[in-house]
């Protein structure tokens, strides 16, 4: 049967060409906005800052646990007193940016300059997640940043293909882009405090602690993490991997410790500490310390950190 297409393909082609035009226009406009984006005001601005502009002596990278747990000012004061001169610190951890995004940031930092110390806050549970949404958040930087591009390309063929479209790269990010210009300047050098507690302290103290079986480590996430560790190890830049406190966690960090040991990277494990497990009032929720808990933890962390300085 011969198909009479009645101009069907022509119509499809015209629609596609208009779509390509829109795609290119959106890309050009959004990319130029990206270039003038401030260093503060939302996650995209912070991501851009840590990937491309940050140059402090000490950098903290991590997820929401990182940005809520390390009191930058307090850590800076402790370091100033310890070294006897000013040490700049920035908490570059971003909420919902889990392992891949942080491995990428760690690589981007060392590719740009040599900080005195990089603190990488991560838990083994994050290495198990088969989730690339955090690194996909950095998609606007695809053409601007070769490290981001490598991370995104490594996800697979589909991602490599779709990244050629500006509309896809900026999917769901125009609001983030606009909010960078509207949000007030950040204080506390990246530290984002949480206040109060959502843990029912009357119930939780009597509950037995549950241990759940651990899942497999995700190969893509693990590979990125190991690549970052390898680079720090070979470049001889001090990287400390830390797992900050969790309220009565139900797994452990044995495999994470083994990975760090393999690359001769120090690992500080505060994940399951009796001190914090008995004080739910120091937590905002089971995964995050509140401001009071963060101050206590930062002091504890600094005491341990001295060993590597």
């Amino acid at each position: 049967m011969i198909m009479k297409t009645d101009g069907f393909w022509k119509k499809i082609l015209i629609t596609c060409l208009i779509l390509v035009g829109i795609d290119i226009t959106v890309g050009l406009v959004a990319d130029s906005v990206l270039d003038i984006m401030p260093d503060y005001g939302g996650q995209l601005a912070k991501d851009n800052y840590r990937l491309h502009r940050l140059e402090t002596d000490v950098v903290i990278i991590g997820s929401s646990r990182g940005c809520h747990h390390y009191v930058t000012q307090q850590l800076g004061d402790s370091l100033d007193a310890y070294f006897g001169h000013h040490t700049s610190v920035y908490n570059a951890a971003i909420a919902a940016k889990i392992a891949n995004s942080n491995s990428c940031a760690a690589e981007a930092i060392i590719a740009r300059y040599r900080p005195k110390l990089v603190v990488f806050d991560i838990g083994e549970d994050l290495l198990c997640l088969d989730d690339v949404s955090d690194i996909e958040f950095s998609a606007p930087f695809y053409w601007k940043d070769t490290i981001v591009r490598r991370y995104l390309d490594d996800i697979g063929f589909r991602e490599r293909l779709f990244m050629k479209s500006s509309l896809y790269r900026y999917n769901g990010k125009l609001f983030n882009l606009a909010s960078c210009f509207l949000a007030p300047a950040a204080v506390d050098d990246g530290y984002e405090p949480k206040f109060g507690t959502n843990i029912d302290t009357t119930v939780v103290k009597d509950k037995p602690k549950v241990t759940v079986p651990t899942s497999e480590l995700d190969s893509y996430t693990l590979n990125n993490f190991e690549t970052a560790l390898k680079k720090y190890s070979s470049e001889k830049v001090t990287l400390v991997v830390v797992c900050s406190p969790h309220f009565r966690p139900n797994n452990n960090n044995k495999r994470l410790a083994a990975i760090c040991e393999k690359y001769d990277i120090p690992f500080l494990d505060f994940y399951d500490m009796p001190y914090f497990n008995s004080q739910p009032e120091l937590f905002y929720d089971s995964r995050h310390l509140n401001d009071k808990g963060a101050h206590i933890y930062t002091a504890m962390f600094f005491e341990q950190l001295k060993r590597f300085m």
């Binding site: 049967m1 009645d6 101009g7 479209s165 509309l167 999917n171 769901g172």
Partner: protein, 471 residues
């Protein structure tokens, strides 16, 4: 395979091109059948056996019912066999654990220990849809409203036709099977219309349903942290999520079939413009509500056995409809609530206000009232359990406070909702404002490309499952 997946983006054009390149139905029907099974088996291959079982039993029973058309007892026996086998499969996979747990709790009250363990099986995607479609065919053959299909492959395709296999519309044999016997040559205009419908369906799913679901899930999955104000807003958004998720799927299904030259039945007709509950059910999930009307309400006696009996029949039909949606008492209660709306509405019209509401104001008030009742009933649909549903109602009535705001969801979701409401308003009132169907070529092309660009730029690609897949 999900419509909103990369695989479908490859699968669909390839199937369409091969379909139209094939010479005639001798090749096309088997090809579409293979494609449909491939589409389904992408999820869990072994469950294709269930579709095949349903197909074979209803096919054979259909032939036997027709063969014994003059022998009522035999005819009825074969229909019953078909119904038992199909409903047994549905019961086993969907309702066994629910019934088992209900018996356990009931006997527990009486102090009796019930020790039958629950089954650890996954609910086969779309089982309620294809089972109802196949059962509808059996009943139609029994009633003599259609002839039994002799060609097994054609019949198998009727049960498993991929655009509507997993979430409807629940087609009727008299509409779909004759279309499989026709030779469809490629029709550019139909294909374009089908593609436009698919694009609109993707907009509804990816830009409205999946975006606002982030807010809805944030509130409902963490009820303790949210106040009544946020829950009311989440419920309103959930009503649009439900509508756009399911109507979006239906539009993609109807559009995909239309590209290949098949016309599936309409499933949603702007339900939130309904000004009474009866009207609502003529607009919401039309293929299911008409199925229950044809195969449950009318066989129960419909309105032929007096007013009181018709109201009882209505309640039974809605309770069954609730149970169809999910194996949980919350769904039964949801169905019961919808049935009660219908019965009360009917009694109101019969005994209190006998005239029809025709003024604009009464229509507007009716629409708001009907929508509010719909949203209220959806609490039972969305809550994680019956006790959660009552807790939600309590919070909505008492615990008011500042609204939980997710700026990006509000920005993207409300913008998409505005587009949706404008389009539905235009269609509802036949306003002569057209974009994708404008008579001006430039407007037509630009608006179509702009809508695709909008989907790419603002759609959610978190691979959100379609809500109705669970039924």
């Amino acid at each position: 395979m999900l419509f909103n997946s990369f695989e479908f983006l490859i699968f669909f054009p390839v199937v369409c091109i091969i379909y139209f390149l094939l010479k005639d139905n001798r090749w096309r029907i088997p090809f579409l059948l293979v494609a449909s099974y491939y589409f389904y088996m992408n999820w869990k291959p072994v469950y294709a056996v269930l579709i095949l079982t349903s197909t074979v039993t209803t096919y054979l029973c259909g032939l036997l019912v027709e063969k014994h058309a003059d022998n009522e007892p035999k005819k009825k026996t074969f229909l019953v066999i078909s119904l038992i086998i199909n409903f047994a499969i549905l019961f086993f996979f969907k309702y066994f654990n629910f019934i088992n747990e209900s018996i356990f709790h009931l006997l527990e009250i009486a102090g009796i220990r019930w020790t039958v363990p629950n089954l650890n099986v996954l609910l086969p995607v779309g089982i309620s849809f294809y089972t109802f479609q196949a059962v509808g065919y059996s009943i139609d053959v029994y009633r003599g409203t259609i002839k039994a299909e002799r060609n097994f492959l054609t019949y198998a395709l009727f049960v498993s036709f991929f655009p509507q296999l997993v979430a409807g519309p629940i087609e009727r044999a008299k509409n779909l099977i004759p279309q499989f016997h026709e030779e469809h040559s490629f029709n550019a205009q139909e294909a374009i219309e089908g593609l436009k419908l698919m694009i609109w369906g993707f907009f509804m799913k990816l830009c409205v349903a999946d975006v606002i679901s982030e807010y809805v899930n944030a509130v409902f999955n963490n009820m303790a942290r949210h106040n009544g104000t946020s829950i009311v807003v989440a419920m309103v958004l959930f009503s649009f999520q439900m509508y756009c998720d399911f109507a979006g799927y239906s539009n993609i299904a109807i559009g995909a079939a239309r590209v290949m030259g098949f016309r599936l039945m309409e499933n949603f007709r702007r339900p939130f413009f309904a000004y009474n509950i009866k009207e609502f059910w003529k607009r919401w999930h039309i293929s299911l509500s008409s199925w229950f009307m044809e195969y449950v309400y009318i066989p129960l006696g419909g309105n032929r056995k007096g007013y009181a009996r018709s109201q009882v029949n209505m309640m039974i039909t809605f309770l069954a409809c609730g149970l169809w949606h999910g194996a949980d008492w919350a769904f039964v209660l949801w169905g019961g609530l919808l049935g009660a709306y219908q019965v009360i509405g009917s009694m109101w019209n019969k005994y209190v206000h006998k005239r029809e509401y025709k003024t604009v104001l009464s229509r507007v008030l009716g629409t708001i009232f009907c929508y509010s009742l719909g949203v209220f009933s959806m609490i039972f649909f969305r809550a994680n359990s019956l006790s959660d549903a009552f807790a939600l109602i309590g919070k909505m009535l008492t615990d008011h406070g500042p609204l939980f705001v997710d700026e990006s969801v509000f920005a993207y979701g409300l913008a998409a909702l505005a587009i949706l409401i404008l389009k539905d308003t235009k269609d509802e009132f036949n306003l002569n404002i057209n974009f994708m169907h404008s008579k001006h070529t430039v407007v037509r092309y630009l608006s179509t490309a702009a809508l695709i660009a909008y989907i790419l730029l603002f759609g959610s690609y978190a691979k959100g499952q379609f809500i109705y897949f669970q039924f």
